[in-house]
Each structure stands twice: as C-alpha cells, then as structure tokens.
Symmetry: C2
Subunit: 419 residues, 2 copies
C-alpha cells in the first residue's frame, strides 16, 4: 500500500523528536496521522515543521499513504512536503476533550469550540435529523411550506413574544407556525415546515432556548391514533437514519442509540397515577411541570404519549372532547429515560368558528385580535390536527446531552446573544 496524496487540515497535535516528528491532522472528514522524517523532506519543509508549525495551523500535506499498525485508520501519511495555508495564534481555549472549558467560555469562543470533535459530531447528527424528518414527510406526500417569522399579532395569547420594530409598526417574532400552518389545511390537506421559532422566556434551564427549531405538521381528516402513529414512525425513522449515517459521530459521542420499538399511550388520568406513584402530589387539572415531566419520562424506556388533557390547560385551538367537555384532544409525546423530555405537543383542532370564538373568550382572549384566523373557518374548513416537535429537545434526548445549548451551533438564551 502506497499512494501519493494531498491532504488539507488543521494541526490537532504535534510531536517533534530528533530527525522525525508526527502531526495529528484533522481534515474536514477524518483524522490523519502524518509522519515527518528529515530525510524525506526539503530543508524548507523541515524548518517549517521544526520551527514554525503550531496547533490549529491550517496546512497542506503532500505525501504517501503507508500502512500503520498504530494509526486508527490503519494507515499514515509519510510527508514529502508541507505548506502552511493559514497560521494560527495560540488558542484562547483548549480544544481537546480532556480539559473541557467552562460553558460560558466555550460559548464566547463558540467559533473555535465547534472544532472539538464532540461538538462537530452533534451538529452532524442534527443535520441528519433534519434531513430524515423532511424525507419522512416528502415520502408521505406532505407539502413543505414556509410561514412568516415576522407577525402582526400574538399567535397564542401574547406572552413571551419578542417585539420587532417593523418600519412604523409594532410586530413580533413568531412563537410557532400554529395559526399559519392551520390556514394551509383547506388547500393542501397535509403540510409541514421545519423552521425557527422564538420564545422570550427568561427560563435559564438545561432545556430552554429563546430561538429554536420546530418540526410543524398539520393534517386534514386525522385522528388521535393517526397523529400518534405518524409521530412514532417519524421518531423511529430519525433514529434509523442517524444509525445509518452517523456511526462515527455516535462513537465519538459514546452514545449507544436504540431505535424505539413501540410506544406507550396514557390518558392524562393514567399519567397522573404514574407521576403520583413517584411521590408527586399533582392535582387533577394541573399541567405537568419539569419535575412531573421527569417523573413520567423516567418511568418508561419507550416513547410515551399522553392524551386527553383537562380542557383548562390546553390552548384555545384544541378540540374539546364531544362526549366529555372536561377534556380536550391534546396529545403530548415524551422521550423515555433519564434524558427524556417533552418532544412534541399537538392534537385535534377546533374548526368551528363559533366554538373557537367562545373558547377564546373563556380563556381571556379577545377574538378581535384573531381577525383573519377566525374568519378562515367560515369557508368550508376541514377537520384537522397536527403537532409541533422540538428539534433541539429531540436531539438532546437522542444524544443524551445535559444541556440543550449543545444541540445548536450558536445558541440563544436570555444571557447569550453572541456570537
């Protein structure tokens, strides 16, 4: 085995002995071992290697592949020539996984932090997740749409919105695609979008971001069972695609990924029992907080759906159960285990404009603020349902990450606005 190659990469490690030396070269796709022998290279290359080259220099190496029993790839590059393409100053943070910098420092230097193999691995898995989700819906005949980010009024009631100055008017950043994706139902019947959403919550937790991506789906003529089936298959497909495309990344992240095999389906009442068994004193009619959610997730090792929530905890656009108006057709999906969180929220929607109006009023909202949204239900609006699944929440669970911030290239929180 011997083949001339030309490789570009960053100097991740460097060791200089007498007349020989070694470079660990991080290319865009792999890690190469480079051996530099004085007898093999020009004086200029040897000088450069001995006196100039430092960590994170971006270099071009010309040489030949030779077998190696030590190198991970089973080969190494015997250098013939080295050229510095771009030098590097000493790094302000340590990029090795041995000494991980504190989180605020890592974020401050995020543009360097992403060079760490673990960070890169997470972002590559994220890329697969997005691709898999879109493929899943394309195959099922869903139409991909883009909904506006800048909106005139509050989508779901008004809290937690970021205000935008839109020329002389006040506008906001969309909290979700909810109202807009519903509006596409009469035309397309099956729609999805994957895009950014914004929530001005001051939550400083391990699972909150102010800017996050959501898989938003809506389908005409659906049922609670079909919505659960779609979501379970989606999550399963995402797991399978990550296994197929990210073997190396999972290894770097030391994650043993297990594809979900089936799902649990609990009514709200049944979920309460599970949570109470874990010692929480939650009353009927309360929504789950972080602790209750955790109690629920850690009780299962497969995804869990909770259905039929009390009417008082669901947003106005959910459909109330016809045979029991204390309950509404909301369906939440939870990831299982220690790293499980709420993955999605959805359900059946109310499509009768008069019932919608009454529910808005009952929930303290002014129907006049929902002009076009309320109006659209007057013109032959099909029954429908859907869900919004958090990209970062799902990825955090899948990769068993402590902080949701790790799932994003440049996270946004109440404290982080740069880089």
């Amino acid at each position: 085995m011997s083949k001339m190659v030309e490789v570009y990469g960053h100097v991740q490690g460097i060791r200089k002995l007498g007349r020989i030396g070694f470079i660990v070269l991080r290319t865009f796709d792999s890690i190469e071992q480079v051996t530099v022998k004085k007898e093999n290279v020009s004086e200029e290359t040897w000088r450069l290697f001995k006196e100039e080259l430092g960590l994170e220099y971006f270099i071009r190496v010309r040489g030949e592949y030779v077998e190696s029993s030590i190198a991970k790839l089973g080969r190494e590059i015997l250098a013939k020539e080295i050229e510095v393409i771009a030098p590097s100053k000493p790094l302000p943070i340590d990029l090795s996984d041995k000494v991980e910098a504190e989180f605020p420092t890592r974020i401050r230097y995020r543009y360097l932090d992403i060079r760490r193999p673990k960070v890169k691995a997470i972002l590559k898995v994220r890329s697969t997740l997005l691709r898999a989700a879109r493929e899943f819906f394309y195959k099922m005949g869903f139409v991909e749409l883009n909904f506006p980010i800048i909106i005139a009024t509050a989508t779901e009631g008004g809290a937690n919105l970021f205000p935008v100055k839109y020329f002389d008017r006040q506008a906001y950043l969309a909290q979700s695609a909810q109202l807009y994706k519903q509006s596409a139902i009469p035309v397309f019947g099956k729609v999805f979008t994957i895009g950014p959403s914004f929530r001005a919550e001051k939550s400083r937790t391990r699972k909150h971001l102010t800017e996050f991506w959501q898989i938003d789906v809506e389908k005409a003529l659906t049922t609670p069972d079909e919505l659960m089936e779609i979501q379970f298959k989606l999550v399963k497909y995402i797991h399978e695609q990550i296994l197929e495309h990210n073997e190396r990344e999972l290894e770097i992240l030391k994650v043993k990924l297990e594809v979900p095999e089936y799902y649990h389906k609990l009514s709200y009442d049944e979920a309460l029992e599970v949570i109470r068994r874990k010692g929480f004193d939650i009353k009927w009619g309360e929504d789950f907080g972080s602790d209750e959610e955790r109690a629920l997730c850690t009780s299962f090792d497969q995804p869990v759906f909770v259905t039929e929530f009390p009417e008082q905890v669901v947003a106005f656009y959910y459909k109330v159960k016809e045979d029991d108006p204390r309950l509404a057709h909301r369906i939440d999906m939870y990831g299982p285990g220690e790293y499980g969180v709420e993955w999605s929220s959805g359900g059946l929607r109310e499509h009768d404009p008069e019932k919608l109006r009454r529910r808005m009023i009952a929930k303290g909202l002014n129907p006049e603020n929902f002009g076009w949204y309320l109006d659209m239900f007057n013109y032959g609006f099909p029954p429908h349902g859907g869900f919004g699944m958090g990209v970062e929440r799902l990825l955090q669970s899948i990769l068993k990450l402590d902080k949701i911030h790790e799932t994003v290239l440049y996270p946004r929180t109440p404290d982080i606005l740069e880089p």
Copy 2:
C-alpha cells in the same frame, strides 16, 4: 370501469338542472367531476344538493367512478351520498381564475386566495425547489447547518436591519447567514443552509420582500470556476426536478420550462459593454441598478455569471484580486430573459484578518463591531468562497411571475404585515 370511492373536497363549481346536477370537486390532490342524479341518491342527499350546497363547502362524496369522455381525468364520480363536513359563507373574493381580484384584496384574503389553483401550483413548485436544492447539496457531501436569526450586531454594515427588543438588549434580525456560515468553514469545509433572511428596505418593487429565503452555501478551498459550476448545476438540477415532479402545476401556470443548457461567463467589463449596447450610460465602477440588470438579463437566453467587480462596489468580506487590486472576486448570477433577475451573489472571501481589518476601515466600518468575526481568522482559517441564492428570485424567474410576492404563502413588504 366502476369502483366505489369516497372523496373529500371543496365545491369549486356547482350546476343544478332538473333531476340531475354536477359538482366540480377540488380535492387536496386533483379536480373531480361529480354527477348527482335524483334517482341515485337518498331524499336527504338530493335536498342537500338542491337547497343547501354552495361554493367552497367542504363535503364528503361517496359514489362510483364511471368513464367520462368529457371530464378531464377521463372519469367522473356518480354520487350515491353527499355529506357536508363544513359549510361555507359566501366568499369575499372570487376564487376563479377568470376574475382575478386586485392584489391588495388577494393579500388581505390570502388564506382564501391560496385555494386558487394557480397559487397552489406556485407553492407546490416552491416545495420542489427547496427539496431539490437540499438534495443537491446532500449528494455533494455538504453539511446542513442552522444559523441564528437574532443577532447582536449588523452583519454587513448596519443598514436595513429590523431591530428586535431582546430582553433588556437591542438586537437585530439577520440580513444574511454570511458571517456565521463562514465561521463553520474550518470545521466542515462544505456547508449550506436554507432559511429566512430579513431586510428592512422600503423598496416597493416587483422583486423585493422584507422577509425572504436564501440558499446559503460556503466551501473551503474553492475557485471562481468551481463556484460557478456548483451554481449552474444547482439551478439545472432544480429545473429538472420541477419538470419531473410538477408537470401538472406547470400546466396550470402555463409555463414551458426549459432546463438551462450552458452558462455565459462575463467579466464586469464585458457586462458593461452588453449593458451599454442596450443604451445605458453606466460608468466603470458603478454597480448595476434595476434597469442595467434588466438590460443584461434580456441579452441572453441562458444564465449569466458576471465576475471581477470593481473593488469599491463589493462588501468588505470579498477577496481582492491579487494581480489587480482594482477588482474583487465577486461573482453574480443572473437569470436570462424577460423574467431574469439577479439570482445569486457570491465569490471568494478574504481570510487574512489584517487585510479584512483594513478593508473594513476603508469601507467606513468599525472593526471593533466585528469582534468574534475578525478574531476567528487568527486561528488557521482556510481560504474559502460561497454564495447566497434567493429562493423567491429564482422561483419568480422559473415560473415567469410578474410579482415576487406570488412566490410566498404570506408575503412581507413594507405595506404587508398581515395575514
């Protein structure tokens, strides 16, 4: 041919004769002809058909397919039973393509306007365009990344930004992914993103939106020729995919789509000559305005690249030509013909931090406002280049649309913020 079917759809047309009648039923996927005969249906269905049913009612029809020499699909549905799922009030706008409402009225009722087959067709082609663009880059090994929308400082100089109130701080909506996508180059080498961008321009033209989507691409170790090749192949692939997936939509839109066969490559100087031959008195060193752009586009029937722009018209992050510092490596791509516009802008980037700093100052920018961006070039930053291609601009050209607003479900302009 006779098969029992159950079909859901909107009543797009209705004709009631004596003991027979016809419904044009717009389902999510097609247009069905329904024949209703008094002798075939229950009294209730006949009453409903004669007395209740109106335009845009959402109904369920059970019946059987029979051959038809008149119907477009070569078949019609002989109704057995009709059920109203959701009634419709009289429409505030005409949805037929015969009497098209004025544009402001169409936008006001956009949630109804999208029921028009032409609008639906445009949005379906948009969906194909996005899918094709992503597939193209996946196949070439590019990693898909998401960049922040809320940013702390002006991306490219400060003009035309929408201000956002970010808790107690001032922030902005990202004008482009430019600086962020560059930051991913040392790690991934080949990256792309397709997402929303925002420009607070008060332009009220047929080709401006304040919220638009961009295909943003960046590649390490590239050349002007490679960047042109990538873009041409991308546009070609998008055309091919639309031809393959949207035959029906192209028919509805009466668009004869021709796949680009080759491209023209002009230097800025050569482009000036073309524009001057059309009677425009443009001086060396000026950027192209709308009229000059039009003169250029209408001179060709294949896509055109213009290269090597005067240094003074390009943004600070472009690389100046080494052998002629009057010129910079900017490459713009234009669509050909009457509906041609600027599709993309890109080129080679400067990756030397000292040169970047000097160019910022020369262009009246304060390097201190570019803290992390400038800093990142100190750590072995690979030479690179890329481009940003406007999704709406490209779609407008491909579908030969007068207004760019038609390419978006809910357009945003200085005047339009709702729905």
